[in-house]
Amino acid sequence: MKLIIAMIQPHKLPDVKKALFDADVHKMTVTNALGCGQQKGFMETYRGVITEVNLLKKTRIEIAVNEDFLEPTIEAIIKGARSGNIGDGKIFVLDLADCVRIRTGEKGREAIG
């Protein structure tokens, strides 16, 4: 079992969601996040003062998958989020120790599926 954490551009979320649905991945958690990577910030002007905003709005997606879904999920996220420019984001894959479905008490593979 793996936990996939992806940081993407917020405006790419609709595309990523569509790609995931097409790959038969329907379960995810999405959060608003702030962060910075290689991408430079953007300039904001307020009452004549120019400032650089370098913590950018990002969207964080968490998906827990079984091994056979790992590659399709990663491919789908890349397909939806890639524009080829700096700032497209990153995908982290973590080992997942266990997973419990609260309603039934199921554990492991069944709980994820």
Binding site: P10, H11, P14, V30, N32, M43, E44, T45, Y46, K57
Partner: protein, 444 residues
């Protein structure tokens, strides 16, 4: 103690009133004060109409997403500035100058211009300029969340300097429609149908917002970010309409007329709100506040033309039909895949047309109309004039605004890039956020 102070104050006011009374008794001073009071009335209602700009701003801001609010408010703000200048330099001359039935030619920069009523020129100009600004700002809502800011600036100058004044001349400036007996008391056609159709042309040229319609043609919800702001806007508009309609009497000489206009305005708005709420409740199961508010605005738009010529019961009927019409309009526009974020087309275009036609149905010759309406035995005469008038204005606007938007699109581009649209026009066009320090989802 307090009572004594009040008595002293009361006595003072009485003495002052007495002094004013003696002054007014002199014949010359009496004539001057009549113009003075009329001027006060026209200016005060002009200020109310100006405040409607805030109403439009709040309605449009509330009905769109947080990432575009700074952009829409900048548009609302600057279009009044552009309209004021445009209407000063060219507009007034085209609208109220001497000329032919199509447009006026004298009084550029107000030099040598004459007032169109009994009040001084500058008061009359300010009142008309506030109307011009209202017509221009309607379009911002229909084209919200995707139109380039420089394109909007150019559009707002052109509509207020040239297009609105030409239509205004036909109807209020002694042009060909006013000679036929076409009646539009405060501007259902001149302001609202004009602004609404311009918004329709614009939004169709811009195409829908990204993500509004699915491939199978079904519509998605793109919810407004602040219903409280939108409600405040509707209340401000309703309040401002008490200047828009009653102020169009342009004089306080006929108290009965002002009172009739005011009560009709209020009743139609109230009924529009009720019927729109009931319709949406019946159709979709819940009393949707945003639709009820659109209904009240629809009632206000519809009663704007007939408010002086109908009895209060008729204004309730006019408002009721307006309330139903606005809900149907919103549903049909979604079916046609025409994306109008704030309902500018159903409110201003549809009900501007309906209000203009209703004059020919419910209007009474006894109240100052050229012919009795359909219900009072006047036959189709007035209704035919109304239909011809609003129809020709619609054609003219579709044609002229079509050219204006097309030219802007060719030379400047009308629509922002998809990326900027998704990030929000606040950052893209203005480099600043409406709600700094808040975390706002920009994922839609």
């Amino acid at each position: 103690m307090f009572r004594r102070i009040r008595n002293i104050l009361g006595g003072g006011v009485l003495v002052l009133l007495g002094l004013a009374g003696t002054a007014a008794c002199e014949p010359q001073a009496g004539a001057a004060s009549q113009t003075g009071v009329d001027t006060l009335w026209v200016l005060m209602t002009a200020f109310l109409v100006f405040f409607m700009q805030a109403g439009f701003g709040m309605v449009e801001a509330g009905f769109i997403r947080a990432k575009n609010v700074c952009n829409i408010l900048t548009k609302n703000f600057l279009d009044f500035c552009m309209a004021s200048l445009g209407f000063f330099i060219f507009g007034y001359a085209l609208m109220f100058g001497d000329g032919n039935g199509f447009m006026g030619f004298t009084g550029w920069f107000l030099s040598g211009a004459k007032s169109g009523s009994g009040v001084p020129l500058y008061a009359f100009w300010l009142f008309q300029a506030a109307f011009c600004g209202a017509a221009a700002t309607i379009v911002a809502g229909g084209m919200a969340e995707r139109m380039k800011f420089p394109a909007y600036l150019i559009y707002s100058f052109l509509i207020s300097a040239f297009i609105y004044p030409i239509v205004g001349h036909w109807i209020w400036g002694g042009g060909w429609l006013s000679k036929m007996g076409f009646a539009d008391f405060a501007g259902s056609t001149v302001v609202h149908a004009l602004g609404g159709v311009a918004a329709l042309v614009g939004t169709m040229m811009l195409k829908p917002r990204t993500g509004k319609y699915n491939a199978d043609g079904s519509a998605n919800v793109i919810a407004g970010h602040s219903i409280p702001l939108a409600s405040l806007g509707v209340f401000i508009l309703w309040f401002g309409w008490f200047g828009f309609n009653p102020g169009s009497t342009l004089s306080v000489g006929n108290g009965e007329l002002i009172a009739r206009v005011a009560i009709n305005t209020n009743l139609s708005a109230a009924m529009g709100g009720i019927v729109a709420m009931a319709t949406v409740w019946k159709m979709f199961g819940k009393p949707d506040l945003s639709m009820a508010m659109n209904g009240a605005l629809a009632g206000l738009v519809a009663i704007t033309a007939p408010c002086a010529f109908v009895d209060p019961w008729a204004s309730i009927v006019i408002g009721a039909i307006a309330g139903g019409l606005v809900v149907m309009g919103v549903v049909v526009l979604d079916k046609l895949k025409i994306d109008d974020p704030v309902g500018a087309v159903p409110v201003h275009c549809l009900n501007g047309i309906w209000g203009t036609l209703s004059v020919g149905i419910f209007g009474k010759a006894a109240l100052g109309l050229a012919h009795d309406g359909l219900l009072y035995g006047g036959g189709f005469k007035q209704l035919a004039i109304q239909a011809l008038g609003v129809g020709s204005v619609l054609l003219f606007i579709v044609f002229s605004m079509g050219i204006v938007f097309k030219l802007i699109d060719i030379f400047l581009g009308l629509r922002v890039s998809r990326e900027e649209e998704l990030k929000g026009l606040d950052i893209g066009e203005h480099g600043m956020e409406s709600y700094a320090g808040f975390q706002i989802f920009t994922t839609q």
